[in-house]
């Protein structure tokens, strides 16, 4: 009962902060002067045109309603619905991420099981890991010759490291006792890997996957700003070029919401593989 009331208190406080924040934002936007009050000079210099400025939250909300009520329209290369743009981004993130997982998890298993493999590969990992994923972009564009694939490659390269390192760490940390249980039950190497080592290391592996998806979502926005064409990152940049700050703010919020959803999916996965000793 107490926990519920605590949650309710927190929820009320959140709403209060949101409302107050929006009101302050709304109040701090200077109103556009009406045309009638302008001097002739101002009118001649274009003062009557609406000025670009940070839009008030009410406008952003209106934009959100407009966009979300028809998210999948496609009116040419520069005018696609928010749903389509986000869809492109998610497609790129998931493709690059899946490729990274397909390599990082088996390789992480190998590194975790064999200290020779760990020592041999560690220098490469340590040098490659701190490289900003966008630094790969020119090389990727030149080698792959395809902007779409280059963006996917950038996602691949940035999401591989946390998964690789966490998998190796999780596998290396599996308790000797559990491996002995597998050995005394004459399990084959493959069966041991799937029935003992994988579930034992799963919480650590999924933590790595969760970190990776977060990084991938951060990087896709920047990557799409560079490669252009489609995607939520391109959308933000395009709206900036159009000086449509309402759309910019709206898409920033959408990036946050999608990122949160991706993260909470892995949070859910993390809960299902968790165990207490």
């Amino acid at each position: 009962m107490k926990a519920l009331s605590e949650n309710r208190k927190a929820a009320l406080l959140s709403i209060l902060i949101l409302v107050v924040g929006c009101l302050i934002w709304e109040a701090s936007i200077p109103a556009q002067k009406a045309v009638g009050e302008l001097t002739e000079y101002e009118l001649l210099t274009g003062g009557g045109q609406p000025k670009a400025g940070v839009p008030p939250p009410s406008q952003v909300l209106g934009k959100a309603w407009e966009q979300l009520s028809n998210p999948f329209y496609d009116a040419g290369p520069n005018d696609k619905g928010i749903g389509i743009q986000i869809g492109y981004s998610i497609y790129r993130v998931l493709t690059g991420y899946a490729l990274a997982a397909a390599i990082a998890i088996p390789l992480g298993f190998l590194i975790g099981m064999s200290s020779v493999a760990y020592k041999a590969l560690n220098p490469f990992i340590q040098v490659l890991r701190p490289i900003s994923p966008l630094a790969w972009m020119p090389l990727a564009l030149f080698v792959i010759q395809d902007s779409e694939m280059s963006a996917i490659f950038v996602i691949f390269i940035c999401s591989i490291w946390p998964m690789l390192i966490n998998t190796a760490f999780g596998v290396a940390g599996v308790r000797e006792d559990w491996v002995n249980v597998a050995r005394t039950h004459e399990l084959s190497a493959l069966k041991t890997a799937f029935t003992v080592i994988l579930p034992a290391a799963a919480p650590t592996i999924v933590t790595g996957m969760r970190i990776s998806i977060g990084i991938a979502w951060l990087v896709i926005v920047a990557a799409e700003m560079l490669v252009g064409g489609t995607g939520i990152g391109y959308y933000v940049w395009n709206e900036w070029n159009n000086l449509d700050l309402t759309s910019v703010i709206f898409s920033i919020l959408m990036i946050g919401v999608v990122g949160m959803l991706l993260d909470s999916m892995f949070g859910l996965l993390q809960r299902t593989v968790a165990y207490t000793e």
Partner: protein
């Protein structure tokens, strides 16, 4: 001499001592265990009990010497030799039942799913785990419950040899007593050959047919094999009344407190078997001396 069901021949374990030399844990340890026998091994820490256990389980390799079971060389772990580890070694992401079926389906890969579950549930019931408890994860079970699951997993596999590595070491005295009773019950139902490490003299007397005594390490040896001449079924409360109980117990205490140190480090001839010791006062109980001050030590065969 006829070969025992399990025969340990001239087992030696040495480790590098870190200074270029070698450290001998035990040397030329030889003994046998008969089928259906319950044998406990007693000795101080560091005498290599756990090493012997790991070698029997196939989890470690001796420096030299061989272990034969049913005339076959033992090397590497096998489903024929089940192990109950001191720290239970249950897989924490599986429920109690799944931990047992994990073993059973590895042992009997041809069984149907229903049969595996039925068999596992039956063995869990034998150690007193029924109902809701078998669907809980190890973290939701007490230490005693966890060790019950571990024992059920080992017995359900019906191995030719069951190895118990201080299975009750981490349990409180009351729980330990209950599970010892359950262990006897399961064992007498199955005629399993059991080899068990323990630190607890009373536990060894209650459970074992025979107790192997080890001298202190380094250069430890299996010095004596003491037969427990108390008839089964043994009940904790009654065996202390048995005339042989304190005689055997005194002999064991005396060995561990004094002779294990005195005998330590003596070179042992290869192939030397532990000296059999049989203490039985029941024949003498009716004779002129009703309360003999000293236990009678008699070597049989030898």
């Amino acid at each position: 001499m006829a070969k025992s069901f399990l025969s340990i021949e001239q087992l030696t374990q040495r480790y590098p001592d870190g200074q270029g030399g070698e450290f001998t844990v035990f040397e030329n340890a030889s003994f046998g265990i008969e089928k259906g026998e319950f044998v406990c091994i007693l000795g101080h820490s560091g005498c290599g009990k756990s090493t012997i256990m790991n070698i029997l389980a196939g989890l470690a390799e001796p420096t030299s010497g061989v272990v034969k079971m049913d005339g076959q060389h033992v090397s590497g772990p096998s489903l024929d030799r089940g192990v109950v580890f001191q720290n239970y070694s249950l897989l924490p992401w599986l429920t109690a039942l799944k931990n047992v079926t994990f073993g059973v389906s590895a042992r009997f890969p041809n069984w149907s799913k229903e049969k595996v579950i039925e068999h596992s549930t039956a063995f869990l019931a034998k150690v007193g785990l029924t109902g809701d408890a078998i669907h809980r994860k190890p973290s939701q079970l007490s230490g005693g419950m966890r060790q019950r699951v571990s024992i059920a997993r080992a017995f359900a596999n019906e191995p030719k040899l069951l190895l118990l590595d201080e299975p009750f070491g981490a349990l409180d005295a009351l729980t330990r007593g209950t599970i010892q009773d359950e262990l006897i019950k399961v064992w007498s139902d199955t005629d399993q050959t059991v080899f068990m490490i323990t630190h607890d003299i009373d536990e060894a007397i209650l459970l074992a047919d025979r107790i192997l005594l080890m001298t202190n390490g380094p250069m430890a040896q299996v010095a004596e094999s003491v037969e427990i001449t108390i008839p089964r079924p043994r009940v904790r409360n009654d065996i202390v009344e048995h005339p042989n109980y304190y005689a055997i117990r005194n002999h064991l205490v005396h060995f561990l407190a004094q002779r294990s140190a005195e005998l330590s480090g003596q070179a042992q001839t290869p192939d030397q078997q532990p000296t059999p010791v049989r203490i039985d006062l029941t024949d003498d109980a009716e004779t002129e001396d009703p309360e003999p001050a000293k236990p009678v030590l008699r070597a049989v065969e030898g």
